[in-house]
């Protein structure tokens, strides 16, 4: 079956511009996560959606970052007024349900963002 998909796969933008990154989770998965992977560093948690509950935004690095999830499915991560330090690979993952730490998160291929 189809896995998690993300678009675009690569995005090059100029400093100060806004960008939108899209994630299509696996159908039926209620939990969705965004992570950031910077060069030479591990993965950094950004935001988490679970069903219709309010998202956990505790990992967002600044108020320039926001995300929404429409209809409990597709999610968009928006970065406003991009800075060079925002350059990273942004990964989306989905999980069937919350309530069990044994559920596996399935990752998309990521969007590589380069801010010039």
């Amino acid at each position: 079956g189809a896995g998690v998909s993300q678009s675009p796969s690569n995005k090059v933008t100029e400093k100060g511009k806004d960008v939108e990154l899209r994630c299509d989770p696996i159908s039926g998965h209620t939990a969705l996560y965004w992570y950031r992977q910077s060069l030479g560093q591990g993965l950094e948690f950004l935001i988490y959606f679970q069903g219709n509950s309010a998202p956990d935004k505790s990992g967002l690095p600044s108020d320039r970052f926001s995300a929404e999830r429409t209809g409990g499915s597709v999610s968009t991560l928006t970065i406003q007024r991009t800075q060079q330090e925002d350059s990273a690979v942004y990964l989306c993952a989905s999980r069937l349900r919350d309530g069990s730490s044994t559920d596996t998160q399935y990752f998309g291929p990521g969007t590589r963002l380069t801010v010039l």
Binding site: G42, F45, S58, G59, F107, P109
Partner: protein, 115 residues
Amino acid sequence: AQSVTQLDSHVSVSEGTPVLLRCNYSSSYSPSLFWYVQHPNKGLQLLLKYTSAATLVKGINGFEAEFKKSETSFHLTKPSAHMSDAAEYFCVVSGFSGSARQLTFGSGTQLTVLP
């Protein structure tokens, strides 16, 4: 609070020799532990996961890991390395952050397989 430490940032082995990638964790809860692999320009792929059912976990591509609570370790092993195993490997613990259940990733171990 939880954390993961991957003890080696780079590991180099010859093809056909054993692989050992080391991981230590700390967690306030009974953890679930995972190993993910990331090939160049590819997404993260789950290798295996520990969920308290059995301490020795077998994964894909001949990898396995043993959960040792007394040592707080979850090392990844493979008896014989293959060239296609060259990738970056992440040890991961599943836990809580406030209201969110999230994964905490180690910093990764880059595995090089020499011919």
